[in-house]
């Protein structure tokens, strides 16, 4: 290294959670609960907005009509059975009115919120583990100094998973209309038979839905625990002992392959199946992009926080700059994937593919466009210059925009498919986000105290301390 002539002292640091940080995390949760409470109290029969109430009534009326006559279902069946050559009006392809009818809309709204936040935090924490793995596989030196931060974040993923899983266990009948259909046990020829859902049922069924993700989480958790324990064991190893590092590379490679293939499955099962008639081959990548850029943002924010408290002494503006570049670059990556999904469906103009975007573009136009503003235009324009990527205040502001933006992105994946038109982000949504955000922050800060903040015997720690991106 160029700086060989001046030695940087690398010492272990022990983090203790400041009382102020604890108050902040608990405060977020309390404020979140209060906001959510107000949100629930002011909900008018399942919604706090007159507009959406109106929509619900209309939908219920449609539902009754469909039940009485069954015409729409009949027509749908006919077209679906003849090789899906339908048009936009075909109720089997578009979101059907009866899909949006919940027994208790207000309860479904609460559970859908918990699903959204739980899913986001689960995906983000798991992406933090992927970050650790990627650094090993790429033989990256610069990140050795901050590596304990993503490791601490990754301990949250079983919790995030559990939050989402509880919401699914309780409310899957109302959140996923194919679950509702599954209970009808219809066979070919019966009225209401749905050829598309029937064709998917070998994969999209309650057993697969509940068991598969649990098995995957168990595998990820074992690999993550192994990676973390190797990292800690290295701290007390002989200096110069690279055996832990080499083992970590092997486990990281294994984890990355498994993660890369299986994260898409969770995205299909839990997110894509909300619009069960619809499918998108890039959906797994899209969900990964959302989780990955949010994970990079959260890693950056935690590093900035620790730095502001006087920890992570060997982390300099150079590391912060690189994290800022990651946020900038993967915001563009997210947009690329987001547009790829949209553009092909828009171009092909095939009814069964369009249903997903039809409702989001027609009924949720503001949110649809806000998504691009929050997740692309803001980071792209604000983080473009070098100075802003090295400025903690700018990074924090853009980080908060990105976290809310990607929450909003997941919200837009879920809500139109569950409720149909007319929903908005209100106090309940913000409250749920803050509540679990507070829990997440509290958990991660606590996880950071469990081990030294610096991987002192990491083979690249010296290189990381001297990291320099130039003038």
């Amino acid at each position: 290294m160029g700086h060989g002539h001046h030695k940087i002292e690398i010492t272990q640091e022990q983090f203790t959670v400041p009382a102020k940080a604890k108050r902040f995390a608990i405060g977020l949760t309390v404020i979140g609960l209060i906001l959510a409470g107000i949100g629930i109290a002011t909900m008018d029969n399942g919604s706090s907005h007159g507009h959406s109430h109106e929509a619900t009534t209309v939908v219920k009326h449609d539902h009754a009509a469909t039940e009485n006559h069954g015409e729409a279902a009949e027509a749908g069946k006919h077209v679906a059975e003849t090789e899906h050559h339908g048009n936009v009006e075909n109720p089997n392809f578009g979101p059907r009115a009866e899909f949006y009818t919940q027994t208790k809309p207000w309860a479904t709204r609460i559970w859908s919120n918990i699903l959204i936040v739980g899913y986001l935090l689960f995906m983000v924490s798991l992406a933090a583990l992927f970050f650790v793995a990627v650094q090993y596989i790429a033989n990256a030196g610069w990140s050795a100094a901050i590596k304990r931060v993503p490791e601490a974040i990754s301990t949250f993923f079983p919790v995030g998973f559990a939050i989402a899983f509880i919401a699914i266990l309780v409310a899957k009948n109302d959140l996923y209309h194919w679950v509702h259909y599954e209970h009808l046990h219809l066979t070919k020829g019966q009225p209401g038979f749905d050829a598309i859902l029937d064709g998917k049922s070998w994969f999209l069924n309650s057993k697969m839905f509940l068991i598969f993700p649990v098995v995957l989480v168990a595998i990820w958790w074992l690999l993550g625990r192994k990676l973390r324990s190797l990292s800690v064991a290295e701290d007390s190893a002989q200096p110069g002992d690279v055996s832990f590092f080499k083992k970590s590379i092997r486990f990281s490679a294994g984890f990355s392959v498994i993660y890369g293939f299986t994260i898409a499955v969770v995205a299909w099962l839990w997110m894509m199946s909300i619009d069960a008639h619809w499918f998108s081959t890039i959906f797994g990548v899209y969900n990964f992009a959302t989780a990955w850029v949010t994970a990079l943002t959260i890693i950056c924010l935690f590093v900035l926080y620790l730095k502001s408290q006087g920890y992570l002494k060997i982390v300099t503006d150079e590391h912060i700059h690189d994290l800022g570049k990651f946020m900038f670059a993967f915001s563009i990556f997210w947009t690329y994937i987001w547009l790829s999904q949209y553009l092909l469906i828009w171009y092909a103009h095939i009814p069964e593919e369009m249903s997903y975007y039809q409702i989001r573009f027609e009924e949720y136009k503001f949110n649809f466009l806000l998504n691009v503003v929050l997740n692309f235009l803001c980071p792209f324009l604000i983080l473009m210059t070098r100075n802003s990527k090295r400025n903690p205040v700018v990074l924090t502001i853009v980080g908060c925009i990105l976290i809310f933006g990607h929450y909003h992105d997941v919200w837009l994946m879920v809500v139109p498919g569950v409720f149909g038109p007319g929903q908005q982000i209100g106090l309940l949504e913000i409250g749920t986000l803050l509540t679990f955000g507070g829990v997440f922050i509290f958990w991660v800060l606590n996880a950071l105290t469990k081990r030294g903040l610096i991987a002192v015997n990491h083979p690249y720690i010296e290189e990381s301390a001297h990291h320099d991106v130039g003038v």
Binding site: G2, H3, G4, T385, D468, V471
Partner: protein, 188 residues
Amino acid sequence: MGIIDSNLSLRNRNKLLLGIWEDEDKLVEATSELVHAGVKIQDVYTPYPVHGLDRVMGIRRSWLSIVAFLCGATGFSLAFWMIYYMYVQDWPLDVGNKPVRFSPSWVPVLFEATVLCTAFGMGFFFFLRNRMIWGIKPELLDERQTDDRMVIAVETDESVDEKKVLKIMKDHGAVELRESNGGVQTTI
């Protein structure tokens, strides 16, 4: 100063004092000493980027990123104008009844044109500024400066204490000292 950096040219120079290094750490050390002693360094030649050298030499930030932005903006504008002229003004086509004006199908073209112009523009201006473009003869101070040796060049005039410069170079690991008079080099 034009786009092609004349500071980097070796032609029409006063006498140059040259120190040759084999070790990059010692090179950075020597550069730092020379800068601290108030010696104005003409340039340091290395076969690969040496970390920290730019900071030690006090080189200010490159304009390359601003050039990149301008090239990108140019590419975006050109592509926008091209699509607008061809597809909206001159010859609108009905493709599957898609809107002609400002449709999502413009995005990939705008994106690609922006990236293309940025990449080519950055490459072109980088080489132009560094005198690595057609018509400019390469000027090497040492044949091995593109391989495994590094050169510090100090331009001299009446104000420079040559002995002091040579002593600093020698003390900080120069393996060879030379002077260059109008392209003719003699070992000191």
